[in-house]
């Protein structure tokens, strides 16, 4: 049963050093506030899984908290590179980064298998590519009916999945809409799930297409964090801060600048409200 608590409590209670965590959200609803809280609490030696590492993992990697990255596309969407990610892979700064690299289809199948209680997922994927020779969680298997060879990917079961959603009702049921990516699967695949939400409502009410409801009893903790996905967006509540994504390119490109940004906007803020005030997006 989902407990309504502060984000700081949820991260302290549920995220441990050495955990495999998935902070999901496909461009939309990326749970940045939770990542910042993980940085504030200096959870270390993390394996972090996400289809698109995005700025959120660029920050975690740059902060030196990540041991291993499980992913499928690591760029700054529409802008360019994730420079902290590249610095880790290309130069081992701030330390070496282990990779478990897939395609989107493979990552989606891995979460789906995890959610469905299966040890692996089957898909037509990776054919003719060099990924299987570098990624241990890819294998092949033959169809028992036709003999055809297909790809298999190992189920992904995070210790903790964190997502940001639009709404939670008084009973703790979570509602989200718009582009919902792999969030349902990532939550159901995980041992524990933390959800940050824009709003607590009496009754869930979809504000757009593709309404997804997660019953209270599959969520471990819910924290009300309006704007908790900035610079990503929550459809019906906020718009994407495209300028932030553009500006990140120069912040992230420079180790010193990144360090200053992290200190000022994350370490020196006591929580998301202070962060939002500082980036000029008070709500």
């Amino acid at each position: 049963m989902a407990e309504l608590c502060t984000l700081s409590e949820a991260v302290a209670d549920l995220v441990n050093d050495g955990d495999t965590i998935a902070l999901e959200g496909f461009t939309h609803l990326i749970p940045f506030a939770a990542a910042h809280e993980i940085i504030r609490q200096q959870k270390r030696d993390l394996t972090v899984a996400r289809l698109t590492p995005d700025l959120i993992y660029d920050q975690l990697i740059g902060a030196g908290l990540v041991r291993k990255l499980v992913f499928s596309w690591g760029g700054n969407p529409g802008v360019g590179s994730l420079h902290r990610l590249r610095d880790a892979i290309e130069n081992g700064h701030p330390h070496q980064l282990e990779l478990d690299e897939h395609s989107h289809a493979g990552m989606a199948a891995r979460y789906t298998a995890g959610a469905a209680g299966l040890p692996f997922g089957v898909l037509r994927a990776y054919t003719g590519t060099d990924l299987p020779s570098h990624t241990k969680t890819i294998a092949t298997l033959a169809c028992p009916f036709t003999g055809e060879e297909l790809a298999a990917v190992a189920a992904l079961r995070p210790d903790v999945t964190v997502i940001h959603a639009q709404q939670v009702d008084r009973e703790g049921n979570v509602g989200m809409w718009g582009i919902t990516g792999v969030q349902k699967e990532a939550v159901l695949a995980a041992r524990n799930a933390i959800v940050t939400v824009e709003e607590v409502v009496d009754d869930l009410a979809p504000g757009g297409p593709n309404f997804v409801v997660l019953p209270s009893w599959v969520v471990s903790a819910v924290a009300k964090v309006p704007g908790g996905c900035h610079p990503s967006y929550a459809q019906g509540y906020s718009t994407r801060d495209n300028r932030f994504y553009l500006e990140w390119d120069s912040i992230s490109r420079d180790r010193a600048l990144f360090g200053e940004w992290l200190e000022r906007y994350v370490m020196a803020t006591r929580g998301h409200d202070e962060y939002m005030a500082l980036v000029g997006r008070s709500r």
């Binding site: 496909f26 461009t27 939309h28 289809l51 698109t52 992913f71 499928s72 596309w73 690591g74 760029g75 969407p77 529409g78 590179s81 994730l82 990610l85 590249r86 892979i89 290309e90 690299e101 897939h102 395609s103 989107h104 289809a105 989606a108 199948a109 979460y111 789906t112 898909l123 037509r124 994927a125 990776y126 054919t127 003719g128 590519t129 060099d130 990924l131 570098h134 055809e148 060879e149 297909l150 718009g178 582009i179 919902t180 990516g181 792999v182 349902k184 699967e185 757009g208 297409p209 593709n210 997804v212 967006y233 459809q235 718009t239 994407r240 495209n242 300028r243 994504y245």
Partner: protein, 262 residues
Amino acid sequence: MSDLALAQPLQDYSSDEMMTVAAARSLRDGMVCFVGIGLPSEAANLARLTHAPDLVLIYESGTIGAKPHVLPLSIGDGDLAETAVSVVSVPEIFGYWLQGGRIDVGFLSAAQIDRFGNLNSTVIGAYESPRTRLPGAGGAPEIAAAAKQVVVMLKHQRRTFVEAVDFVTSVGFGRDGDGRPGCWGAGPTSVITDLCVLTPDPQTRELTLTALHPGVTVEQVEAATGWPLAAASDLAVTDPPTDDELATLRSLKSRTAEAHSR
């Protein structure tokens, strides 16, 4: 060259615009198109706003039949969800829609391409110790495998058109051009660049120069290609952009720039 082209002022467009227009023209109305961000999205939306109003755009964020007002900056822009016929999960878009064989055309780009249309968007140098780490696969490997045909859009440069890609992220016809075992789709049917159009030779599957954009020479293309390029005997010249194509593209891009600067 068609009559239409003769009516247009020559060179009143950039080579990038020519590339986008040529790619847009490769889409027929009613086709189902799996689109990535950047050049592919620009070309697909240009097609939708000109000759192919019923083009179905699918973005990997799960938006089916999106009709964005401006070009999305990210694959998951709200505009895509709000204008889509249906929004589904990412597992579903890759499972039921791409892998299910429902995509007519997949658009791809890459950092490197070889003569057999294999694409690299993973790494320059060795995987374990890269010179340049690129973003990686995303949806590309399965688009390359499952779309009924693949159109590749790339700026034509010697460092991009290479003898051998450093990493096969998405398969064209295989490192040795041996074919596409286990793939459903036909593979790359055209590579559209800012200089020309390459298509795979029906026998050898090697990318062959089949059309030059107006004003471009074979020598220019050869100089920008990292392997000895085969050219078709009946080399075509691409029709230059029409006024309508250019005006639509420029208006789309200026609306886009304006929207994303907010």
